[in-house]
């Protein structure tokens, strides 16, 4: 009833408006490599796999009559694909994930045994769209896809099979041709992001500063003691330690599931050095960077294992049953084979520690009070230590980590450096106001080397 081929120009124009589209402008070529139509009356679901300028996308198009007055598209104009002619008359096409009725059809295609009443679209991510059904299950639809196993599906399945409790176990997956298209999991009800918890803790700490008693000005009196984050009501260290323990357990489970591989620390050092070439001349002392990387190249760096790859406070959720980890997709912009390549588990640790720094810097920036710098640093220091304590206990020395604590420190410093270099590039390109955060981290890392 629908001429899918006729929709190609509209889809081409529509793609650049989607967050998960990797290009900036309309693709030069667009080929439909798979199509499926569900329903013979409106609303109709059209699932397409399209190749646009060598990238492949899952496009889910809903089609309804032009006379339809459903208001789910209100405020989501970017979701409208355009007009389309059908045997039942003029219709309009749009991104089907916004359509609560078609969302149930999408679920049925993935998991026919799951019955749901209501659907809501969660905010869209860089590479996928997630729909929550009845506040009970969540369907992640991969929009930017690649041939081969999606690491998200692969790792989530492997961890759940190993009895690792801190991932939501897969309930169903959808695989078409050679592509993973969807993953259905229980919705973690009552969960909040680690990022939100960290900022809550920091705002509490800074609020304590607001109501600290004012010292009586008298030169004979000792200066007031600085505030200690350990004394603050919103102390995060207990959470950070449990988060570290969960992370350690995750790495042990990943190593058990995918094996322990040889760590080529020389290659890692070279790769990081290549990235650091992109730094600007005044940023940091290059010789200090080189010293950090030389040390990495020289040591026993422990094992290389499958890792999360994009680990930060936004990827972990606090639930009533403790911390959970999400999003094993890795960096969606990188090729799948690169994302599946084993690395040091300390890469994830470095990612989380960088995230603690970001949280403290962002919370301080929110208040625009640079006097809070010491307090923010004290918070970061306390929670770094707590996280590492929890992590080391769970990961165990000599299992996946180097046996020598000094080697652990050397690998960690190198990967914190890598992450900060990446962040600096990103911030300069997209959020120049935030570039000071990774720059401060780089300087802190390299100053220790002088």
């Amino acid at each position: 009833m629908i001429d899918v081929g006729a929709m190609v120009p509209a889809i081409s124009q529509w793609l650049p408006r989607q967050r998960w589209y990797s290009g900036q402008v309309e693709p030069e070529t667009l080929t439909i490599i798979d199509q499926e139509i569900r329903g013979d009356r409106f609303p109709v679901l059209v699932r397409l796999l399209v190749e646009a300028d060598r990238h492949i996308y899952q496009v889910l198009v809903g089609v309804r009559s032009r006379d339809d007055h459903s208001d789910f598209l209100r405020g989501h104009e970017q979701a409208v694909v355009g007009d389309v002619a059908t045997h039942q008359g003029d219709a309009m096409a749009y991104d089907a994930v916004h359509d609560p009725e078609l969302a149930l059809v999408i679920l049925d295609a993935v998991a026919p045994h799951e019955k749901a009443q209501r659907a809501r679209l969660m905010s869209a991510e860089q590479s996928n769209s997630s729909i929550v059904y009845d506040e009970r299950i969540i369907l992640k639809l991969f929009r930017r896809i690649q041939r081969g196993h999606n690491p998200e599906v692969e790792i989530t399945e492997a961890l759940a099979a190993r009895g690792f409790k801190c991932v939501a176990e897969p309930l169903a997956t959808q695989r078409v041709r050679d592509f993973d298209l969807a993953l259905l999991q229980p919705f973690l009800s009552g969960a909040a992001e680690g990022w939100a918890l960290a900022l809550t803790s920091l705002r509490d700490l800074f609020g304590l500063n607001d109501t600290a008693s004012i010292p009586i000005i008298n030169i004979d009196e000792p200066p007031p003691q600085p505030l200690d984050p350990a004394q603050a009501g919103g102390d995060f260290a207990g959470e950070a330690a449990r988060l570290g323990a969960m992370t350690g357990a995750m790495h042990v489970a990943l190593a058990d599931a995918f094996g322990r591989h040889h760590a080529d620390s020389k290659a890692w050092a070279e790769a990081i050095a290549a990235q650091a070439d992109g730094l600007e001349p005044g940023d940091v002392d290059r010789r200090a960077i080189q010293r950090i990387l030389d040390r990495l190249a020289d040591i026993d760096a422990g094992a290389a294992i499958r890792v999360h790859g994009d680990y930060h406070l936004g990827q972990v959720l606090r639930t009533d049953a403790g911390w959970y980890v999400l999003d094993f997709e890795g960096e969606p912009a990188r090729p799948i084979e690169e994302r599946r390549r084993p690395s040091t588990p300390l890469k994830d640790v470095a990612g989380m520690l960088r995230s603690f720094h970001y949280a403290s810097a962002v919370a301080r920036t929110e208040r625009d009070e640079y006097a809070l710098e010491d307090l923010a640093a004290a918070w970061e220091d306390r929670n770094r230590k707590a996280f590492l304590r929890g992590y080391m206990n769970a990961a165990g020395p000599g299992n996946i980590l180097p046996a020598d604590p000094e080697c652990v420190g050397a690998v960690l410093a190198a990967f914190e450096l890598e992450k900060a270099v990446y962040e600096l590039g990103y911030e300069r390109a997209y959020r120049p106001d935030w570039a000071h955060i990774p720059l401060a981290a780089l300087r802190r890392l390299t100053e220790r080397e002088q």
């Binding site: 209501r118 009552g190 909040a192 939100a196 509490d204 609020g207 004394q231 919103g234 102390d235």
Partner: protein
């Protein structure tokens, strides 16, 4: 004794815990008494409590705050006599108030006539009423509860020349429940007080009634059997009576004391209390939601007892290893929450005398599942005197007026059992019932009002299910209480800063939230997330009603 929806009175009751010694002195001897409580029932009734809980008033040498009873059938003379208790019970019932009292089942004072007889020799009629032994090595797995003062659960009696068993202080020998005469004697005690009109008991230290080799002597099946037998007897003779157990254990273990609804009616929920404080300290909901997630369902005819302040507190050795780690990390280490400090503080000083926090904590207490238990004086935000030591710091005289001795007694100041608070923040000149009654904006008036609203919704709050709602903002704790088609939505901001929250309420689309304090209608719930903003430490109680079909003018 059941009402229209099939529940019992205690399932929706608000309890008010009274220290006889500290409430009101009717004869001006410096010590509060039973008649003093009778004279001040107006206050409790006006406040909106449903049931008084009296701390021990029995004859006692008072070496453990009256929990060392030397005669179950008479009153400590300083407090009055049996006739005073009967008058108090009658006066309560005339006002539709109920009244329960502490009862210690596990042990007596060593001054009790039963023990004095039992210790004489090994053959007297009460020789087996206590637990005697020639050596002090039996039951090695039973932990010592008061490790600060006791080195063993056995103590040597030089008269009988044997050791006797005691789980608490050495001056509190454990009764021997293996002896049917002891069981009967204690059931006689229970019947005596119920015949006088008491509506039930808070049963002190119930897990320890029996001892068995190779066990830790806690929660034994024999203990449950005895409690079930007691329940059966009082159900037959005194229906409507409540047995409220103090079993200082983890909720998953405490639920055993409900049996199949055929054992205790109520048990205290111990871990919830510190976690409510911790949630406000941390400005996030997980301390509360975690413990609720670990709280098992209880029989329909039962109820939890929940509280903010109380003279009991969770002991860390009762919890699982994981929980102990959690409590240690999050609670015991916190300078303000250390056990021995926590137990010696009243609510107001614990929250820095912050009224918004006190209101929020009470709003939680009154809306979470369970019957709330208030501690005398907390309704006016009384403080404490940590220099008095032990638990006396929270047992200072009730502050009635700004007059001499806080209006508690006309005795000479030096004669008072404890000095009233006189500091500039919490002292009776600043904090007292009379002044707060005159001030319509006082915390006392707020308490009276919130209890009024709770009473109006007593069915839903007493019997309704609990469902915690998802909220991306960790500082917001939102939940639904539902009983049939009656639904309440409670939203709490645990942070001192204003917070937004989006609630996924699409399945209740078409309902209108009506705020319960002012009956203010809020915008209809639709398909989109329901957006609310809360002021610092703010909360909402809504009733969800069907939207009126026509806009009312």
């Amino acid at each position: 004794m059941t009402d229209a929806i099939g529940g019992s009175w205690f399932q929706r009751a608000v309890f008010y815990e009274v220290l006889v010694r500290g409430f009101f002195d009717s004869n001006n001897d410096g010590t509060g008494d039973i008649r003093g409580i009778t004279e001040r029932l107006d206050h409790i009734q006006w406040l909106g409590a449903d049931c008084l809980w009296l701390l021990p008033f029995y004859q006692s040498p008072l070496r453990d705050g009256g929990y060392d009873i030397s005669d179950f059938f008479s009153i400590l003379p300083e407090y009055g006599d049996l006739a005073d208790v009967v008058t108090l019970i009658e006066e309560c019932h005339r006002r539709d108030l109920r009244i329960i009292a502490d009862l210690v089942m596990n042990h007596t004072s060593d001054q009790h006539a039963w023990f004095q007889e039992s210790r004489q020799d090994r053959t007297n009629p009460k020789a087996d009423w206590y637990v005697w032994s020639d050596d002090d090595t039996r039951y090695p797995d039973a932990r010592i509860i008061f490790i600060d003062t006791e080195r063993s659960n056995w103590s040597w009696d030089p008269v009988r020349e044997q050791f006797y068993w005691h789980r608490f202080f050495s001056h509190q020998p454990d009764l021997n429940y293996d002896n049917p005469e002891v069981q009967q004697a204690m059931l006689d005690v229970v019947r005596f007080w119920l015949d006088l009109g008491l509506d039930g008991f808070r049963l002190d230290a119930v897990p320890y009634l029996y001892e068995r080799d190779g066990t830790n002597g806690e929660n034994l099946p024999e203990t449950h059997d005895f409690l079930k037998q007691m329940r059966k007897e009082i159900d037959a003779s005194h229906p409507g009576t409540v047995m409220l157990a103090e079993a200082n254990q983890w909720p998953a273990d405490v639920v055993d004391y409900y049996g199949e609804g055929d054992e205790c009616h109520m048990c205290f929920h111990f871990p919830l209390m510190p976690r409510m404080f911790m949630a406000v300290r941390r400005e996030q909901r997980y301390p509360i939601t975690e413990i609720l997630a670990q709280t098992p369902e209880i029989p329909d005819s039962c109820q939890w007892g929940i509280f903010l302040r109380n003279h009991d507190e969770l002991t860390l050795e009762m919890v699982t290893d994981d929980e102990r780690d959690y409590m240690y990390n999050e609670y015991a280490k916190d300078p303000r929450m250390k056990r021995n400090i926590g137990i010696g503080r009243r609510l107001a000083p614990l929250v820095d005398n912050n009224r918004a926090v006190a209101e929020l904590l009470h709003a939680l207490l009154f809306s979470l599942p369970g019957s709330p238990v208030l501690y005398y004086g907390d309704e006016i935000g009384m403080g404490d005197n940590i220099y008095l030591g032990d638990r006396d710091g929270v047992r200072t005289p009730m502050q009635w007026t700004p007059d001499r001795n806080a209006g508690f007694s006309k005795a000479d100041f030096a004669q008072l059992y404890l000095p009233p608070l006189m500091d500039p923040v919490y002292g009776y000149q600043a904090v007292n019932v009379e002044a707060m009654q005159r001030d319509a904006g006082s915390f006392l008036h707020w308490m009276q009002r919130v209890l009024q609203v709770r009473r109006q919704h007593g069915d839903v709050l007493g019997f309704g299910s609990l469902e915690i709602l998802s909220a991306e903002n960790p500082s917001v704790l939102a939940f639904l209480r539902q009983l049939g088609d009656r639904i309440m939505l409670c939203v709490n901001n645990l942070s001192r800063f204003a917070q937004p929250v989006e609630l996924q309420l699409a399945r209740l689309s078409g309902k209108m939230p009506v705020e319960l304090f002012g009956r203010v209608p809020f915008p209809l719930i639709g398909e989109l997330p329901y957006f609310l903003t809360l002021g610092g430490h703010g909360f909402y109680w809504f009733e969800l009603v069907d939207a009126p079909s026509v806009a009312q003018q």
